[in-house]
């Protein structure tokens, strides 16, 4: 084997993003000092799980972790894709954590990817699977990803701490490359949809949430429909919980979402926090109001995507052919900024970031790196 020059990075921040970009740009990375000073040093279970997922969908990728897990060597392979894959995401982070990079990786595979992911479908930290289906997948369509074969099915739901949810995700491959977008028209919100769910609790919780959320939207828009999704039995996972996911569709085809889930905390976190404080769950009406307010907040910010999708949007823009992509987002989220920096480091794509003072939005422009789907086989 030839020798590789590893890109040296430090710290555990954005490890998932870095691994994603490293795989896409086939740059070997060497990450040092992963939580060296922390009480529990080294990689977290979800990060290890993500590495396993990468190994699963790619061919000949080499992962080396030192004994304490504070140092990671990753040499990406070729993304193979494939069908009927199964991956257990564990319970330390929700499936949403894995979906975000997976959806980008899947596009550049040799074969279309269909994978069954097990774990936590909804939690408060990561975007829920409902949001993913409603708001994330349409973003891909903007970039010319074929819509047939792009789907996600929720088999069962699971909330922290024990999870037990299951989804099936299938992503098509792109034939040549993505399409540059010029996506700065956020449009006006024409409808608001949403899903509430409840597992192992009374379905009455959902009605309460819906009622609360609607109360806020009623002054603005009549076209609000929030569906209920009460799961019972096997489909309800292993822990009780409830949550809501809302998204607003605009006249120009943008989807703006916000979501959360309420459940008992995970074990490790419980140890950290004061037990009395967090023991009590947020009542459903408050959850509904909060999320509705959050959605309005996102709408107020403007932009063609909400703040949690900024990262994905930037990555896709950077992967476009060498045309100018132009997108409008609200305030840059910290994660978005991290993504921009990492894109610069890995793909060499810099964005022109211009504020639009009249609307309080930010317009980003970039020339894509012109990545083609290299692993695709031609006959």
């Amino acid at each position: 084997m030839g020798k590789f020059t590893y890109m040296r990075l430090k710290g555990s921040q954005n490890i998932r993003l870095r691994l994603l970009l490293s795989t896409i740009s086939t740059t070997p990375v060497l990450i040092e000092d992963i939580r060296t000073d922390s009480t529990w040093p080294g990689l977290r279970p979800h990060e290890v799980s993500f590495l396993r997922l990468l190994e699963k969908i790619s061919d000949d990728c080499v992962v080396e972790i030192n004994e304490t897990g504070t140092k990671l060597k990753y040499k990406p392979g070729i993304i193979m894709g494939g069908r009927h894959l199964v991956h257990d995401c564990g319970t330390s982070r929700s499936i949403g954590y894995f979906l975000e990079p997976l959806i980008v990786l899947g596009l550049f595979g040799k074969k279309p990817l269909s994978i069954r992911l097990r774990g936590i479908t909804n939690d408060s930290k990561d975007p829920s699977v409902d949001t993913f289906r409603a708001a994330t997948l349409p973003i891909l369509k903007q970039f010319g990803v074929p819509s047939d074969g792009l789907q996600m099915k929720i088999e069962s739901r699971g909330v922290p701490p024990h999870g037990g949810g299951e989804i099936i995700l299938s992503i098509p491959i792109i034939q040549e490359n993505l399409k540059a977008v010029n996506w700065i028209d956020e449009g006006m919100v024409k409808r608001i949809r949403g899903v509430t769910f409840s597992t192992r609790v009374s379905s009455q919780f959902e009605n309460t949430m819906i009622h609360a959320a609607r109360g806020i939207f009623n002054r603005l828009l009549p076209d609000v429909h929030i569906y209920t999704d009460h799961k019972a039995g096997d489909q309800a996972g292993k822990s009780p919980g409830y949550g809501i996911s809302l998204f607003a569709e605009t006249t120009s085809g943008c989807y703006i979402s916000s979501d959360t889930a309420v459940s008992y905390a995970r074990m490790e976190e419980e140890g950290e926090m004061d037990e009395e404080e967090k023991k009590e769950l947020i009542p459903p009406e408050e959850v509904g109001e909060q999320i509705a307010a959050a959605l309005l907040g996102e709408i107020e910010q403007g932009g063609v995507v909400d703040s949690s999708h900024q990262g994905l949007l930037f990555i896709l823009c950077a992967l476009c052919p060498q045309d100018v992509s132009k997108v409008r987002v609200g305030k840059l989220s910290p994660y978005g900024i991290q993504v921009l920096r990492n894109i610069r480091d890995f793909l060499g794509v810099k964005f022109v970031i211009k504020p639009d003072p009249s609307t309080g939005t930010v317009i980003l422009k970039c020339v894509g790196c012109g990545l083609k789907n290299l692993s695709r086989k031609i006959s």
Partner: protein
């Protein structure tokens, strides 16, 4: 044909008009044919006039024809590719290729002479010229070795294939054509030379014809083949060169897919910028080189890796944009090109002002440009004493006054030098002097003769003598202000830089380059800052300094600053590359508190919460970001009102205004999107949309220059078209093809509009250096051999590598042996492949795909079929063309290209299998079970093959069960015997025999060797053939080793003894028990034959008579029959002849009748036409 053309041209120029020949053989011939047509028609002519000749008679045929026509039309269409180049294209590369002595250099010289009116002494390296108002050309002579040909094929825009007409085609031409075809097919034009060697006109004509048709079969019918008829005064005739130039000037160069996706540079100048003391210490140390050339292909970003063909992969240590050394003429409206604008640039050829050498650059100064002379020094000393003279001027003057070389001086008197100029004793002056001595020592030699003339010159124009000392610098300034740099100034400057750039550190060097740049001052500074890795503070200073100049456009400035701030917030200072630059960000924030609005909330929190990296480094990565906007009370009326317009229930006009760009951003697409929405409403909103449009237009007009406005207009226009089309519905659908084209057009215009509004520095950062710019690339730690063995006749190609192309892996290609290569290729024999920019040697494994998708290894490539080849090497994207060669030597007579291929995919795992046949023998046989030994070597191996199907030679099928337990097959250790491993228990469908051989047929993975060896041809003398891994056959030949023979594999004559069967013996007791019919009848053999056979027959006389009569009667009958047959045959013949005659007659009659009818019809038609007219 050529003659006619000539005469026409003469007509154009007002020469004598052509006189038609009135006598001679040709006239007679013509008149004859004419008269024939006039009077009656000959038979042939009649045939030609058949109107039904090309009409179809059957509907099936008609349909077939129609479908064929449509298919042809569809075939003609190609998926439109996007041409992303903007601005002036780089000079088109014209590669002149041909076998040795075909006249390549002469053709280039003649073309250069034609374009620039200058004589080129010798052709070395690329020569750039301005050939028209909008076109530049770069001529390159293709070297004759295969490496050079491969490299040339990769950058040629047009290939002129020179063919020695007197000799015919040579292999080089076809080899080059093949290479071209596989690396994207650029335009090709054949040029026949040496046609004056033909004395016989007829022969010449025939040869031309023959060569032309051969050329056509190779490329396409109608490919242009140009004839250069001969030499006049050792040059091609002016007229023909002019014609050729015309052909070149109208040629269009379609984009090639590999090249539009990769940046590349054809190097036309190379410098070694290693610190000289390093070289002095160790002449074989790694060098730093700078390569210069026009950027082609696609934009080049900083930080891309590049492959120098024949050297290897290197990261680009530095890129800087230089002023175009051969700029297009300014766009003044005039016809043609003026003499002054007929520039050319050929630093390697030793023409122009810069003479290129391996280790130095000599400046050739024209007489009237000479500024420094002794005379001037004497004269002007008095005048200039008072003024502060430039340091450089002083220095040069002192050097001119020198009697001894600097070395000598230094040795002799240390003080004298320092005493002379105490004020400008720089810290680095000593080093400077050391540097200069080498060059000026040589210069003084070469320009010794010149100095005399210089003196004279300076005497002549002594009035201008006050100026000269500072003129060079002064001129430079003027030029920079003008925004353009004249070539001469650049060269002098470059020369300066080269001579003293060595001892200065990189910083200074870059500064100089940027000042060379010749753009506006601001640009230069920005360039420098962008180049610089450590000039943070400087950068800020620059901004401050520039701010004073920009007062006039205050608004623009503030906008720019804001922009930079936000970008700096995200990306940090240009120097900091790592993403963990928290300190930087916090600094920035303290600077600009005013734009609180645009600061992400999280950032602020972070700052307040912690100031150290540690926590930020380990921050949880979570895309979700809950801002405190969610805490806003949405029940309050104010809050609701603030976002009312973001909903469809709100005010649409306001919302549309919101989407409308305000701060000078060219929103050309959202524009029409908004308009689209208005149409949805279908009410009186039309006025509003108009209003909005006006607003925006009015706004834009303020800050867009007319060029951009035009583009915008175009883009908008296109949008309008699209809308109209879509509204009309897909039914009329002008075709997928047109739609694609339109989309591409639109995207291009958007790109242009978006990028043009950025300032230069950001634009370069965003999209990289544009194609067509003249770049200086710096490479660090290049092997010294590259400089040592540099040969300007071999062009250097620097190709940019896309993402992931520097990685290595297995590549699968679809390969076909070239039909002219004599042998088939053997698996694992090293071949040299050229993929993308690279050339390397590798060991392929050939395979073929079976019907079930299995890749079966082949020992040899198929004779006439494609096969797969898998090899290890740097990855190239699918669809890339591949050329394979086996030997690089020039003295090989045969065709050197062994195979051509396309990349199908790449992998990290090879999956090629080959057949394996395991052979075993039974060692113990039970009923249907047998123990098989010798098939496996260990029990572990058996475990792997459990359940595998096996077969005996006689066709009995079976299965491997398990490894035999020791008790059954072998004696256990306890019992004293040693256990033999690898005995398998197998079951069969029938009992097998001890002598049966048992086969197990399976597939085994073939390892593809992980070997590749980049061709480092640029690191050795070019005339030496590169030697890589040798094939086994070559090694054997060299070492005189015989091919090893496995005796067992030899075929031996099979000797089979005729089988002898013993007679069947039935025991007596059995015989007795048998029924009679089955009993063997034992008849004793007779010693004498029977009487019936032995006796003689004697007939009676009457009987004899009867017998004789019957015989004679029969004879008569036979004879009669024979005669009758003969007669009948004769009759038939006559009849046939007669019938044939009749038939012919009737046919003839019919034909004539028909013809007459047709003629009549034709006449009628003609008459009718005439009447209608």
């Amino acid at each position: 044909m050529a003659g006619e053309k000539k005469s026409e041209e003469r007509n154009d120029q007002g020469h004598k008009s052509h006189r038609v020949k009135k006598s001679g053989a040709s006239v007679k011939k013509k008149s004859k044919s004419n008269s024939n047509s006039n009077e009656g028609l000959t038979k042939e002519q009649k045939k030609l006039n058949n109107p039904k000749a090309f009409a179809f008679t059957s509907s099936v045929k008609a349909k077939r024809l129609q479908s064929r026509a449509t298919e042809k039309e569809q075939k003609r269409l190609h998926v439109p590719t996007m041409d992303r180049t903007m601005g002036e294209p780089a000079p088109f590369v014209v590669v002149v290729q041909g076998p040795p002595q075909a006249g390549k250099s002469l053709l280039i010289k003649c073309l250069i002479k034609h374009y620039t009116k200058q004589n080129l002494p010798e052709v070395r390296g690329p020569i750039t010229i301005v050939s028209g108002k909008k076109r530049r050309l770069q001529f390159v002579e293709c070297p004759n070795d295969i490496n050079g040909m491969i490299d040339c094929a990769k950058f040629a825009d047009l290939a002129l294939l020179l063919i020695d007409g007197s000799y015919g085609f040579e292999m080089e031409t076809f080899e080059f054509l093949n290479i071209l075809q596989n690396h994207g097919f650029p335009k090709v034009m054949g040029v026949l030379t040496h046609l004056d060697k033909f004395k016989d006109v007829k022969k010449l004509k025939k040869t031309k014809q023959r060569l032309k048709h051969r050329f056509w079969t190779e490329i396409y019918d109608g490919a242009k083949l140009f004839y250069l008829s001969g030499l006049i005064h050792g040059k091609y005739t002016k007229r023909e060169v002019q014609n050729l130039a015309r052909f070149i000037s109208v040629m269009k160069f379609p984009p090639l897919s590999w090249r539009v996706s990769h940046p590349y540079i054809l190097v036309d100048r190379i410098e070694d910028v290693t610190a000289p003391d390093k070289v002095h210490m160790n002449s074989k140390c790694d060098r730093n080189v700078t390569l210069y050339g026009y950027l082609r292909g696609c934009n080049l970003k900083k930080g891309t890796k590049a492959h120098i063909a024949g050297v290897g992969d290197y990261p680009l240590a530095g890129i800087s944009e230089l002023a175009d050394p051969c700029p297009l003429p300014s766009a003044a409206k005039k016809k043609g090109l003026r003499d002054k604008e007929k520039l050319f640039y050929a630093p390697m050829s030793g023409l122009g002002d810069l003479i290129y050498d391996k280790d130095a650059v000599y400046i050739n100064i024209n007489d009237h440009f000479v500024q420094f002379s002794k005379n001037d020094g004497d004269n002007a000393e008095g005048i200039n004493k008072g003024k502060q003279r430039d340091v450089g001027v002083e220095l040069v003057k002192s050097l001119q006054n020198m009697k001894y070389s600097v070395d000598e001086k230094l040795e002799k008197s240390f003080m004298s030098i320092f005493g002379k100029k105490p004020d400008n004793a720089m810290a680095n002056r000593e080093a400077e002097m050391q540097e200069k001595d080498v060059e000026f020592g040589e210069d003084s030699d070469t320009e010794g003769e010149d100095s005399d003339t210089e003196d004279e010159d300076s005497k002549k124009d002594s009035t201008s003598d006050q100026q000269p000392p500072s003129q060079s610098n002064f001129k430079e300034h003027i030029d920079i202000l003008e925004g353009r740099v004249r070539r001469k100034a650049v060269f002098e400057n470059d020369g300066d830089k080269d001579s003293d750039g060595d001892e200065e550190d990189d910083d200074d060097d870059d500064d100089q380059v940027s000042s060379d740049n010749g753009d506006t001052e601001r640009d230069g500074e920005e360039n420098a800052s962008s180049d610089d890795s450590s000039a943070d503070e400087e950068d800020q200073e620059d901004e401050m300094g520039n701010a004073s100049k920009w007062k006039e456009s205050l608004a623009e400035r503030t906008a720019l600053r804001q922009n930079i701030n936000l970008m700096q917030l995200v990306y940090g200072k240009p120097a900091s590359k790592s993403s963990n630059d928290v300190e930087d960000i916090s600094e920035e924030e303290s600077d600009d508190d005013d734009d609180d609005f645009f600061r992400p909330k999280g950032e602020g929190n972070k700052k307040s919460k912690e100031g150290s990296d540690d926590k930020d480094v380990d921050i949880d990565d979570c895309s979700k970001f809950l801002s405190d906007a969610s805490k806003k009370d949405w029940n309050s009326e104010v809050a609701v009102a603030s976002i009312r317009d973001r909903f469809v229930t709100g005010d649409w006009v306001k919302a549309s205004l919101r989407n409308h760009p305000q701060s000078g951003m060219a929103g050309d697409v959202d524009d029409d999107a908004v308009l689209g929405e208005f149409e949805d409403l279908e009410t009186g909103q039309k006025y509003n949309s108009q209003h909005v449009g006006d607003l925006s237009d009015g706004h834009m007009e303020g800050d867009l220059d007319p060029e951009e406005r035009r583009l915008l207009k175009l883009a908008n226009h296109d949008d309008g078209n699209n809308d109209a089309k879509s509204s009309r519905g897909q039914s009329n659908g002008s075709g997928y093809f047109d739609k694609l084209k339109e989309e591409i057009d639109l995207q291009k215009q958007i790109n242009m509009a978006e990028l043009n509004e950025l300032d230069e520095v950001t634009r370069v950062e965003i999209e990289g250096y544009r194609t067509g710019t003249y770049l200086r690339l710096e490479f660090r730690d290049v092997p010294f051999e590259m400089v040592e063995n540099f040969d300007p006749c071999h062009p250097i190609l620097v190709g940019g590598l896309a993402l992931g192309e520097e990685n290595v892996g297995y590549m699968q290609v679809r390969l076909k042996r070239h039909r002219w290569h004599k042998k088939v290729l053997k698996t694992r024999d090293p071949i040299i492949v050229s993929i993308g920019w690279r050339r390397y040697q590798t060991l392929p494994i050939y395979a073929i795909e079976d019907q079930n998708g299995r890749h079966r290894m082949l020992k040899y490539t198929p004779e006439h079929m494609h096969c797969l080849a898998m090899f290890w090497g740097p990855l190239a994207p699918p669809h890339t063309g591949v050329v394979a060669v086996q030997s690089l030597s020039n003295n090989q007579a045969s065709f050197r290209i062994t195979a051509t291929a396309t990349v199908l995919e790449f992998n990290h795992a090879a999956r090629i299998v080959k057949k394996i046949k395991l052979v075993g023998h039974a060692c113990k046989i039970f009923k249907k079970t047998a123990f098989i030994e010798d098939m496996f070597t260990s029990d572990l191996e058996i475990a792997r093959f459990e359940g595998a199907a096996i077969r005996t030679v006689s066709g009995i099928r079976g299965q491997v069960k398990k490894a035999a337990k020791e008790e059954i097959g072998n004696k256990s250790k306890k019992k004293g015997g040693y256990t033999k491993e690898g005995i398998a228990r197998c079951t069969f469908e029938d009992k097998i025999k001890m002598g049966d051989i048992v086969f197990l047929r399976a597939w085994t993975q073939v390892e593809v060797p992980q070997f590749y060896n980049p061709l480092t041809t640029a690191l050795q003398p070019r005339e030496r053939t590169w030697q890589g891994m040798k094939t086994v056959a070559e090694l054997r030949r060299e070492q005189n080793l015989p091919v090893p023979v496995n005796k067992d594999s030899l075929y031996k004559p099979i000797e089979r003894k005729p089988r002898k069967f013993n007679p069947l013996v039935i025991p007596k007791s059995l015989q007795q028990a048998l029924p009679f019919a089955s009993k063997p009848k034992d008849i004793a053999s007779r010693r004498r034959s029977l009487l019936e056979n032995r006796r003689a027959v004697i007939m009676e006389p009457h009987e004899r008579k009867v017998h004789a009569l019957v015989q004679s009667l029969q004879l008569i009958k036979n004879d009669k029959l024979k005669k009758r047959k003969l007669k009948e045959a004769g009759k038939r013949k006559v009849q046939e002849v007669e019938r044939a005659k009749e038939e012919q007659l009737s046919k003839k009659r019919q034909r004539e009748e028909r013809k007459g009818r047709y003629i009549e019809q034709e006449k009628m038609k003609k008459k009718a036409r005439r009447n209608s007219d």
